[in-house]
Chain length 407, copies 2
Amino acid sequence: MAEPLRIGLLGRGTVGGAFADLLGSRAAAVEAATGRRPEIAGVLTREAGDFDEILERSDLIVELIGGTEPARDYVARALGAGRPVVTANKQLLAQHGEQLFGLAREAGVQLRFEAAVAGVIPIVRVIQESFGVTEIAKVFGIVNGTTNFILTEMAASGASYEEVLTRAQELGYAEADPTDDVNGADAAAKMAILARLAFHTPVTLDEVSYEGIERIEPDDIAYARELGLSLKLLGVAERREGGVSVRVFPCFLYGGHPLAPVAGPFNAVMVEAPEITEVTMSGPGAGGVQTASAVLGDVVSILSGDAPVHETRERLLIVTDVASSFYLHLAVADRPGVLARVAQVLGDEDVSVKSVVQQGTGEDARLVMVLHECLESRFAAALEAIDALDVLRAPPRAIRVIEEEFV
Amino acid sequence: MAEPLRIGLLGRGTVGGAFADLLGSRAAAVEAATGRRPEIAGVLTREAGDFDEILERSDLIVELIGGTEPARDYVARALGAGRPVVTANKQLLAQHGEQLFGLAREAGVQLRFEAAVAGVIPIVRVIQESFGVTEIAKVFGIVNGTTNFILTEMAASGASYEEVLTRAQELGYAEADPTDDVNGADAAAKMAILARLAFHTPVTLDEVSYEGIERIEPDDIAYARELGLSLKLLGVAERREGGVSVRVFPCFLYGGHPLAPVAGPFNAVMVEAPEITEVTMSGPGAGGVQTASAVLGDVVSILSGDAPVHETRERLLIVTDVASSFYLHLAVADRPGVLARVAQVLGDEDVSVKSVVQQGTGEDARLVMVLHECLESRFAAALEAIDALDVLRAPPRAIRVIEEEFV
C-alpha cells in the first residue's frame, strides 16, 4: 500500500476549516483517484503549531492564512524544502508571484492556486492547461462577487450605493471593511494573476490600474437601463498594440453580452482567442466550502503528477493608454449653447459623440452621452476641459461602455 | 535537445486539416511549454497512407476519422502498442469506451478526448481534473449546436421546424443528413461520455434515452413564451435514487435559468455538486479550428505528463423512470366538460395540474397545461389515456419543463 499523503495545513479560518472537513469526507475518493490517502499532518494557527515542525512532517503544504506575511515566508520555505504548495492567496501571487514561481521551478515542485481566482470556476486550470498554447487575446470578466451583488441590487431596487452596501454586509456578502472589494483592489490582484497565466508574462498588482464602484449613482444605472445597458465591475486583461493592458473598472454592457445576465454574488470569466472564439465560465464567488473544493482539486492534481511549473516565457510591456468607449453624464445649466460647448471640447480631443439625450429641465437638466471609442488619455483631457466649463452644476461622471458588437 | 514529438494523424477532413495547420503555427509555443517540438510523422487518409507504418514511426496518435470502424480498430492497436491517443470521436467513446479505456489502462498510456464533447468548452478536463473527487450530483446542458441554432431561430422567427432546418443547412450549421443531430443521438453520445466521467461508472450510448426536436411546433414555442419559458434540447446526467439517469430531451426553461440565454450554435454545460454549488461553461459548438484547438490542448497535456488514465470505480444502475414536470398541449373539442375529463385522467395517475390556459375557440380550441412533477411512467400512462379520449382533435403534445427554482 502506498504511503499516505501528509498535508501541512496553514490557517484554520473559514476556508481552512472547510478544507479539513472536505478532506475528511473525500479521503476515500482521493485515494481511489490517486492511490494515496490524504491526511492532515499538522495545522498551524495563530495560537498553535510550529511551522518548521509541520513542514518537516508534511509532503505538501496548503496555505490558507491569507495576506502577504508570514504567508510569503512560509510558502517560500516550503517550496525551498521541495514541498509542493497549494494556496488560495491572491495577494501573495499578485505581489510575489515572480519569487514564488521561481522557487517552485528551482525546486521542481508544483505551486497551485485555483482557489485564488474566481471562486469555484476552474479558470486557472483552463487557461494554464486547456489553453496553455493558445494565443489568448483577452481574458475578462466579473471576478468580485461582493461588487456584483451590490450593482445587481442597486439596479433592482434603485437604492443608493451606501444603502446596498449595508444590506450586503448584513447578508455576509460584504466584509465589515469592504474597501479592497469595492475599490477594485481585490479584482486587480486576480486580474494580475490571470494576465500572467494568459500571456505568460510577469504582471504584478502595482501594474494593474483599477477603479471601484464607490461613486456609482443610482441614476447612472437608471439612465443606462434606458439605453439597454447593465453595469458590471469588469476586470480586463488583453493584448494591445505594444503589449498587454490589465485593468479593473465599472463598465456598462449591452443587453446581449454574455456577462450581462450574471447577477448577484456570482463570478464569470470569458477567454477570447482566434482559435477558440470565446469560452465563458460562471459560478458563485468564493464561499468556504467552494474555495476548499478548489484547493482539494489542486491537491489531487499534485498527487496525479499533473502539470509543469508555471513559466513566464514572455516579457510584455504593460500598456496603460488604451482605446475605450465612454458614457458621460453631465449636470448642466439649462440654457442654449451648452451642448455646443461640450461638443466643441470633445471635438478638440478627437472624441466623437455617438448618442446624446437631454434629460430634465432647470436645476435638473442633464446631458447623457455615449461616445465613440477613443484613447483614454484624450478622453481624460476632454473630461478635464469639460469640468472647467462654467456650464456644469456638478463634476462630470464618466463610465466605460462595451456596446453591441456587430458580428 | 529533446527529441521531437512525432504525431501520427488519422484523417484529414475539416478538423484534421485545421489541426495540421494549427500544429504548424503553434509548434514553437508547444515546444516552449513542454520542451518538445511536435511534428506530423504521417497522415492516414482514405486514399493514402498505411496505418501500421504510421504507427511505427509515431510517438502519439491523433484520431480524427470519426465513426466507429476503422477508428476503433486503429485506436485499439495504437493503445496496444503503447502510444497515447487523442481523439475527437464521440461515437467511438460512447460505444466502445470500456474497451478503449481498458486498453489504455493496461498499456499505461493516456487516451484523451476533450474535443469529443461540447466543442471548445473544456468540460472533459474540468470534470476529470478539477472535479475529479467532487461528488457531482448533475451534469447537464446544451451539447448540440445544430439543434440550439434551430430552436433559437424558430423562437425568433416563428418559422416551422422544416423551414429553419433548411436555413441551418444553407448556413452550414446543419449537415445534409441532419438525422443524428435533430433526433438527439449526437447529444446522447456526448451525455454518455459526460455521465461516465462525472459518476465514474460505465455508461454506453444504448443506455441513454433520447428524444429530438423534429416534432416541435412553432405554437409550442409561442405558448411557452407567454409563460416566460424558452425551449432547449437538454442533455441531463444526474444521480437519482438507485443509480444515475442519462437522458436527452427538448425542455422548457424558465427565463432566469442560466441556460436560457444560450442562443444560436452554442453549447453550454452546467455541473452541480453540493461543494461547488454550480459551474456553467459556454462557448461555440464545434467548428474546425475550435475542435483542432481542443485536440492540441490534449496533445500538450500528454506531453506535460498530466493526468492518470480515466477510471470507472463505480458500477451504478441506469435509472430510466424519473420524476419530471411537463407542459401539455391538447387540441380539444370546444365544449363543456372537456377540462374535467382531462383532469380526471391526470388525477387517476396522480398527476396534478399546476396551471392551465384555454386558448382559442371552435376548431382552434386548445388546453395548454403545466403539470407538477411526477414519475414519467405515470405521465406516459396518463398521456395514453388522454389520447384515447374522444375530445381530442389531434394527438397530445408533451414537453418537459424546468421551472423556476425557489431558492
